[in-house]
Symmetry: C2
Amino acid sequence: MPKLLILSDRAEQYENLIQAAKLPNLEIFAFKNADVKAKIANQCEIVLGYPSLIRDLLPSLAKLRWVQTLSAGVELLLLPSLRRDYVLTNARGVFGELMAEYVFGYLLFHERQIFKHHQLQAKKSWDGSDTGSLRDKTIGLLGVGSIGAHVAKTAKHFGMIVHGYTRSSQSSPDVDVYHHDDLIEFACGVDYLVNIFPNTPETQKLLDASVFDALPKTAIFINVGRGSAVDDEALQAALEQEKIAGAVLDVFDKEPLPKEHPFWTTPNLWITFHTAAPSLPKDISQVFIENYHRYIKDEALNYQVDFERGY
Amino acid sequence: MPKLLILSDRAEQYENLIQAAKLPNLEIFAFKNADVKAKIANQCEIVLGYPSLIRDLLPSLAKLRWVQTLSAGVELLLLPSLRRDYVLTNARGVFGELMAEYVFGYLLFHERQIFKHHQLQAKKSWDGSDTGSLRDKTIGLLGVGSIGAHVAKTAKHFGMIVHGYTRSSQSSPDVDVYHHDDLIEFACGVDYLVNIFPNTPETQKLLDASVFDALPKTAIFINVGRGSAVDDEALQAALEQEKIAGAVLDVFDKEPLPKEHPFWTTPNLWITFHTAAPSLPKDISQVFIENYHRYIKDEALNYQVDFERGY
């Protein structure tokens, strides 16, 4: 009978959802943190949890065969010092809708000048000038996996032109133009630049001064991928010098963002707290349940991470 | 040769766009306001313009056969004291995209707590709590014409349940449930109530205390139809007493909204300035051009307004 270890602050919710699916032959141990006794850890062959909690337990998981993460990002499990003798699957296919809501919430917030209208209201100042519109604007997606494809679909719904920058997949029917290498050329042609890349060696500080210089002055940069992709000082300078019109950041190199970080007060920068696409137990438990059915039939699991490639 | 009178603050833009279409046999007179000499007005059989400018000229338009308005709303031309011996067509089919941008800009602004995040940022306070999501929420549309259908389509894109309240058309494939008479029952079941009704005798103060009482306490009311549909005092009371969670108003009984009106400072009320879906010359001129081709072939014009019904 396979034993599953759940590691999440919402361990109980996950346990209930998985119990309800009546998976064959599964015994479950659920914990809110990594404070798990060795005699339990060393029996479990499957772990469902957050990379931050799993990492510390890796040495004690004597029978480990499969880790399903609750997040899309798995970089904490990819450090070269850590074992790789198990199958690692991440959560995929469940964040697209939420990410699209976040991205388009901020795109429309910007185009329709919601904050400016709020300020005009406070001054009792009626101003009937036209706002902008998303139609015919260009969105550039850095990364066109399942999240990128969903953002692209929403962009097409609003009549936008979609450019995708990718080294691998280019299967989304909603991307009008694919770019593969020249990031500067890519940046020149977009009104909105959205980073969705995972944290890999190739994406470290990919968004640097040269990219922010290349963007149109009216452009908005949105980061829902990973903070490591951004050169923070270059972004801060671009916003202070009005080289771009604004930025929206959900992710940061260090989270929570330290109090002393200049991003808290950088002009035209809107920050959120890694909340763009939360891992919702009802979504993620489905990913696990489907994968467990494959696991017991010895089929290839969905959403396997390549330890070398990093995603 | 038919003579066209254009009445708009963007008269020149409309003239250029229509000239560019090289319409057969059309002579154009373009004015920024209603200050048109009688000897010009009394030759023109077609008028393209805003109802507010056309109304005052109606008595001098001796040869009038057709009025195409630049707006969807035509109530100023429907007063019983005014002539009705011409064909009145309004602008339709061009506002749906812009209205959907506006409505979903504010829906996402609310669900994703953009303003709250802005306030947290100002306090340098990291708060990783989950925000809401549009998925599985219910939107109730008062009016399901071409604008309502577009809003419904966007709602389905975001995974919402769509209820439509209508006395006439019910042809949108994106409406899940239609209601026809019980407005209170309709209001009970929605998270977002969006008024898109035109200004007609039937819609006067339709949204009164009984409707705001029926809405869930978490509901948001959005008015992109006409201000006359709302009992202002009842809405103000509903917001002050937190009977609903918020309101977004683009239209008002009197516009510009008078400085002394309580809506400027009512809690949880977000106002804009009749800017949700501006009449863009490139869109509206297409409506006119297509209709002109019908006109000279003596075909029925698109988007005819029924003077009795009011839309």
